[in-house]
């Protein structure tokens, strides 16, 4: 099994990561987390592999890091068709993202703005929506919600293995409302789909 080290990271990819940090798409802490992980000289499979961090997924092949997937890089994710195979096990990352300019208009910076107290609501709502979409379009190319997560969607089990990253609550008194036109995606559970929920 090949090992990866810091030296295995092509400089262009490091610069790509620094660009994303500079534009605040991901937190500065992730550089340290990534470096510390590389310092453990992890063994990786000869084939494609993925390593999830709180706000990014590192994708590689053999001893080389190939790319970083950010929470809103769903297009890139499609290039790694077997990415979902990793998602069978927790932790699950629930990503409620929007266009950067919309976040900026709302005075938010990605991904610093988070709603930990509302995360269970967001997770439940997204899971339920994913199940509805899946049942409404059984033949569509959507990833399936594992049945083990149904109790979480029903609210009989807490979403202990989910992290919700960002959302904008239009009016807290109304419960959970997502910004109209938010692009919602759930890694592991469903393909990105448009959320057009209105208050």
């Amino acid at each position: 099994m090949p090992k990866i080290r810091r030296q295995n990271l092509p400089p262009a990819l490091l610069h790509h990561l620094l660009d994303r940090i500079r534009s605040r798409e991901i937190s500065a802490d992730h550089l340290g987390l990534f470096a510390e992980w590389l310092d453990t000289e992890p063994e990786v499979p000869d084939e494609k592999w993925f390593k999830r961090f709180p706000a990014m997924t590192v994708c590689g092949q053999g001893g080389l890091v190939k790319t970083f997937l950010l929470p809103n890089s769903f297009q890139a994710e499609k290039k790694f068709s077997d990415l979902r195979s990793l998602s069978a096990a927790p932790p699950y990352h629930v990503v409620v993202s929007t266009k950067t300019e919309s976040l900026a208009k709302a005075g938010l910076s990605w991904p610093r703005w988070q709603t930990p107290a509302l995360s269970p609501w967001i997770v439940r709502w997204l899971l339920k929506t994913a199940i509805i979409v899946e049942r409404a379009l059984p033949m569509a190319d959507t990833a399936k919600v594992p049945p083990a997560l149904y109790p979480v969607a029903k609210g009989t089990q807490p979403p202990t293995h989910f992290w919700a990253w960002a959302a904008y609550i239009v009016e807290p008194a109304f419960g959970l409302h997502l910004f109209p036109d938010f692009q919602c995606g759930m890694e592991a559970c469903c393909n990105p789909f448009k959320c057009m929920l209105r208050a």
Partner: protein
């Protein structure tokens, strides 16, 4: 030998030899691989500055510190 013992030895050196040690320490600092925490701190500084020149300098330090010695091998 501990770091403290080495420092005590350096203190006993004559100024000329101390200068050599100082040069070496600077070179070591410039070439060493930075820890994850140090890299995160530098990255945070890079995002906080509004000065593009400062950001570029910090970025260079991050790249150098990420790879450590012999960054040219990675270019």
């Amino acid at each position: 030998m501990t770091a403290e013992q080495i420092i005590e030895e350096i203190k006993r050196l004559d100024p000329k030899d101390q200068l050599g040690v100082i040069r070496f320490a600077y070179q070591l600092d410039a070439e060493r691989k930075l820890s994850g925490k140090e890299l995160s701190t530098l990255a945070a500084r890079m995002t906080e500055t509004d000065d593009p020149a400062e950001a570029a300098i910090i970025r260079e330090s991050i790249v150098r510190g990420f790879y450590g010695r012999q960054p040219a091998n990675n270019a």
